[in-house]
Amino acid sequence: MVDRTSIFGAAEAGGIVRCDACPVLCRIRPGRAGACHRYANEEGRLVRTDPLLLLTQTDAPLVPFLEGSEDWDGGITRNTFVTAIGAGTTYPDYKPAPFIVSSQHAGVDTVTVVTEGIFSYCGLKAKIDTDRHLGPEAARVMHEGEQIGHVTTAEYGSQMLSIGGVRHLTGGSKREGNVTCAAMLALCGKQAIEVQIEGGSKLILQAGAAPIVNGVPEARMRVGCGSAAVGIFAQQWQGHVDEVIVVDDHITGVLTEHQAGKCLNMRPSGIRVRGRRSTPGRYFQVAHPGSGWGGTDVTDPLSLIESIDPKLAWPGLRLLLTSTTGEDSLYVELDEALRPVPAAVPLAIANSVARIGENCEPALTSILFMAGAGGSLRAGVTDNPILLTRAVQRGEVRVTMGGAPCYLWPGGGITIMADVLRLPDKAFGYVPTPALVAPLEFTLRADLYAAMGGHVDQALSLTTLLEQHGDAAIRSEWRRENPWPSAPG
């Protein structure tokens, strides 16, 4: 990073830096900020505390052909993407966005309009990989005594939460809004927060980390529902075990009764589990939801056995009970009185349980930021905002957040979602409204930008922008998992 001190400040004795950003001319000691808290002394250099973030691709080694040759820019302009992080916003809305950057990507003249949006209408979709019951659908999600969201659908192996949204940010009490804003900001900043689901679990959520349910970190995401597990492993169990019960809060599978067992001509065991039979070998509601085996409240799996039919079962019958993640399992054999008795686990069975575990992915919490960018900030892009909306909907404009790709919802407006883990750190901020501040970049072909009435006269070439602002900016490496946001064809 270029030392900003030489241009906008002056070094003094004792590591003090004088900041020339405003007439107060603060003298700032190392590690401290000036009166405005926007400029700080970092190891003797004057830095902005909220600098513009530039992302640089470093795939190709950048070697100067001739040091000091005039046209050499180190290839930096081809490989630099100006994010909206630290770009700020403009007021009134009709004024051009803070940065309209023209550059070339793959030989195409491209414009990237860079602005930080202030979003009252925004929320988070949290996906929590667990088969444990976290709380009833539509239950309130509480944080520091305020409702910040609610439980939505259970998905395959995951529970979804909705967090934030305009009704919690500005529709409730001031405190509800502030607590919601702080919680969303923390989650967007990849930090952990604790939430309590009303009538359910206490969770610690952090994007990219294992969810912690009632103090216990979730390790594995289930391989499938109980029925799916039977379908996957039936062949591997045949010959090693006579019956398998895969305990699951959703559908508990019973091998010999299941279509998978039947197709293998397995002998019916006569073991009947509790719950409501959906189709042969598939049972709903074998127990209550809970934090025991397979997302049920079961801690003694034998309690799931409703009956053992003496006409079908036989002494020495080998029975495996397992959860959908293989974290809990029990191997029993029936004695002379057809009572299940725990027995030494045969190696093949232990291996099959281990394989269930291997097939479970690590349980994670994923946080998607969702917001509508169809409002007044569009005026900073073009003088006829609907043309931007339509161009985005037609796929002619690439929308990114701090360089991260966004999923665009069909239908009206510019409603986007992005994985917070794919954004750079410290990409989000807030205003006291409360509302979140999030970076937004629109990248499109220069001719299309002109045609939609874009603020073409305000466009800066990337080279000029780097000259004017490069020294105050932070440079960071482009995340390889994100596609480079060149203009769509």
Binding site: I16, R29, A35, L52, R175, P432, A435, A472
Partner: protein, 307 residues
């Protein structure tokens, strides 16, 4: 982030072209103005054309102010002693006037800078006819304009790191209160005391600002959990020079909290008796003391019970 020519010859340059104050409209309609360390959030109510005109007036009113005050900084940072110094800019004068009654303590006009700037912008706003209610919030120091019929509810924040109101003051048009200020050791400027927050209601914002700092300084006690450093070690140009300022407060035993709050309360009672403030709310580690009987304080008391 307006681009600016490098200031090659800083020393001796008297007229530097600084960028104009930045402005932004927040989504809820409040106006955000910023110039160097000045950071104002402004709420306006009134006829729509008046509000639009007042926003412009507020922004224009801020032009040149920071530069003018900066030129007088050396005197503004000097302690007030026996004689009132002379100032050029009216805001510099207001700062010194508000600090003047406290000169038995170590005090400089900087004690009222935030309140005086807020009041200056407020005056530019209310020069526009048709504004019923205006509040100019300069980092917690608030200048108010209320028509007789209007009421303003102000949330009180105890800890700036957790910006959620822990109390509420209700100011009615009929009250004399037109200035509210909050000071604490975690705030924007240094404090010599240990209060989490001292909120003062006064007739005008600069007076509220000065009194809040003085009372917050008085909320103090001796305890090993309190960390202090010389102001000049943190900021070489601090107007507090080599006086100690608070840099950390650990958990304190109840008797220490009581001693500190009592010292602050005595100070606030003195200012109330001299007519310098209308009321004050002192908060330290969950304990609260209220001074004065202004209408707004009833609500503060209500909110002061644990939520």
């Amino acid at each position: 982030m307006a681009a600016r020519e490098p200031l090659a010859e800083r020393a001796g340059v008297t007229e530097v072209q600084w960028p104009p104050p930045r402005r932004a409209l927040l989504p809820d309609g409040r106006l955000h103005l910023q110039d160097g360390p000045i950071d104002l959030v402004i709420g306006l109510e009134g006829a729509r054309p008046a509000v639009i005109q007042a926003r412009e007036a507020a922004w224009q009113g801020l032009h040149g102010l920071l530069g003018a005050l900066s030129r007088e900084l050396p005197v503004l940072r000097a302690p007030l002693l026996g004689r009132m110094p002379s100032f050029t800019h009216p805001v510099a004068k207001r700062m010194a006037e508000a600090a003047w009654p406290h000169r038995m303590h170590y005090v400089t006009p900087m004690v009222a800078v935030a309140g005086a700037v807020a009041e200056h912008v407020l005056r530019a706003i209310i020069a526009v006819p048709g504004i019923n209610l205006a509040h100019v919030n300069n980092g917690g120091d608030i200048a108010l304009h209320l028509s007789p019929a209007s009421t303003l509810r102000v949330g009180l924040v105890e800890d700036p790191a957790r910006p959620e109101p822990s109390g509420l003051a209700v100011i009615r048009g009929g009250d004399a209160v037109r200035g509210i200020a909050t000071s604490g050791w975690r705030g924007r400027s240094f404090s010599r005391g240990i209060a989490n927050a001292v909120t003062v209601l006064a007739i005008r914002a600069p007076e509220a600002d000065a009194a809040a700092s003085i009372i917050a300084n008085a909320v103090d006690a001796d305890h090993p959990a309190i960390q202090r450093q010389r102001a000049c070690e943190l900021d070489p140009d601090s107007d507090l020079g080599n006086l100690h300022v608070t840099t950390g407060v650990g958990e304190l035993p109840p008797e220490t909290v009581a001693i500190a709050l009592e010292a602050g309360r005595r100070c606030a009672e003195g200012l109330l008796a001299r007519g310098l403030i209308l009321g004050a709310c002192l908060r330290l580690q969950g304990s609260v003391r209220l001074v004065g009987a202004a209408g707004g304080l009833a609500a503060m008391e209500q909110a002061a019970v644990p939520l």
